[in-house]
Symmetry: C2
Subunit: 345 residues, 2 copies
Amino acid sequence: MLTPRQRVILGAIVEDYVRSGEPVGSRTLSKHIHISLSPATIRNEMADLEDMGYLDQPHTSAGRIPSQKGYRFYVDNLMTKRGIEPSTLAQLRSLFRQRMDELEDLFQQTSRVLSELTQYTAIVLGPKVYQERIRHVQIVPLGVPGRAVAILVTDTGHVEDRYVQFPEDTSADDVVRLVNFLNHRLAGVTVASLKSRMVQEMADELARILGRYEDALAILDELSQVASPPDKAYVGGTANILAQPEFRDVDKVLPLLSLLERTDEAGYVLPDVQGPGVEVRIGHENAIPTLENCTVVSATYSIHGLPAGRIGILGPTRMNYARVVQILEYVADAMTRLLSERLSG
Amino acid sequence: MLTPRQRVILGAIVEDYVRSGEPVGSRTLSKHIHISLSPATIRNEMADLEDMGYLDQPHTSAGRIPSQKGYRFYVDNLMTKRGIEPSTLAQLRSLFRQRMDELEDLFQQTSRVLSELTQYTAIVLGPKVYQERIRHVQIVPLGVPGRAVAILVTDTGHVEDRYVQFPEDTSADDVVRLVNFLNHRLAGVTVASLKSRMVQEMADELARILGRYEDALAILDELSQVASPPDKAYVGGTANILAQPEFRDVDKVLPLLSLLERTDEAGYVLPDVQGPGVEVRIGHENAIPTLENCTVVSATYSIHGLPAGRIGILGPTRMNYARVVQILEYVADAMTRLLSERLSG
DNA sequence: GATTAGCACTCACCGCATTGGAGTGCTAAC
DNA sequence: GTTAGCACTCCAATGCGGTGAGTGCTAATC
């Protein structure tokens, strides 16, 4: 257990190091406002903190830097939220006051603003489609026989489309019948359940309508594909990583940038927690080894009380935790309100 | 004008430098197979080439490197295409042999493979929608009165959707009438013409159907927005830039990465040429100042004989021009064939 | 007249020693 | 328990000579 004095010293070291990026020495700390101890005393305390694993020393004659354990203790016990600076708050407010017709815009803009405000990398995951309810199904045949586009619209206004192939001799009438049937049977059903059991039981009915069982199955199979799009990730400010002194070295950033570049994998950077509140993963706490020197802070936003998607910030372990946590709290909250309001009445 | 011997020497310098990344000295060159001259002679020629601006010298006692003018001369007059290596060809063939249901996949995969093969950054621009013909229009009202999703499907299977707002008292019947009217009037029309004159003349007709003129205008205005989506850019291999020795310095890459990150601006990297063949822009020939030390090689792909979109490679001026040009020629050609074949009968 | 051998010169780069300074650990005094 | 003092450590910056690749120039050679 840490003594109150050790806690003050650890907190001061974390905050000083986050600000300056330089290892913190005992002399620097003794000048700190809330600490009126001589450098020697502080040295003793620092040696103890290092023994306990809260601090690291880059080399014998350097100051101390927080270890990952140190950051963890800071986040759990010492961090004080001072409220978001007015200018930041203003920028956030204006972001959510804009009229954004497209959901896509909202996510894109959010990731841009988040990365600008924090100077770290921001990741915004679009809402998971499979919880939404189907509002409309449409099939548009293209010029080529047997080829068409299937479109799914959910009650949130989310549109998914997919190129599908039909048996070549499917007639225009068949398509109309199919669309009517699907709309009748699927309206209000969640996307998730479309994939599973619905297909089975619908196949029989559909076979009656079309008069061909195999075709009915094939068509439904194609359609069910529409319902499982990959989660879309909006990544902003990847270039910001380079500005961080700990990533000035090209060899260290390369794996990180490669990871973020594949937007399909970028989603895995955010942990899959669905609870409320902000989640902080420091260094090795992340599942992905590439992130061993990074911290990922993430939060969940909801639609109508249901967790819908995640937003997060990726930066070095030397991160301004308090500020990032507060900003994410604000943004997750604002997105929850905006989306819930917009998508009901 | 360059003498034949000067041309041989310049060509050798370019190819040697592209391969090694080190300034080329006279001794190295004299060992070159096709050059049987003493270092001294070569030195004299190199001095002349430098005077004419084809070569640069990093410092007095270093070898020579090609200037941008030198690269330009090489590309225009000296470059010999030796044919793509078998292994590369195999990879390209297998890319286009895959079944790719979504156009999106095609562009994404192409940009990935291009960047992997070249180890540079690849940019693929999706086809310009406005040349395509409208196949189907759909409007799906959402739960909230006056809010709906408008969907446009083109004959290539391209789907555009947009959240739109209607007058709140628009009835379900009105929407059905509107959709029927639009499909009747717009089928086969190019997206481009929808924006311009169509709107004007349709407004009158629509007003008769709905019985309200202002609303008709408002609705058409919203719809015309759907028809002008930004060109979508698929950027792959941005991290590859870091692997290039000329961009090991973080300060030099940062502006480049920032540019590529904003995918809306990434499109501007490729010049807007619509002719056939491959375009090479070296250093300052690029419109964007950030690219002063980069070369952009680009090519156009077509659908049914009409230029549809562009693909390109971004790398340092020290680039393997012959190889990149050949690969782009191949890919543009393959995309043209694939898209034309797939989108007709 | 073109080519080449020879030579002095330049300059980046490497390794090495030197120095300064920030910071520590330890001990003894307060 | 706290602090002053001191020897010690180690990084980072600086300076310096040696090395080698490469050049430009001149004079000899073909």
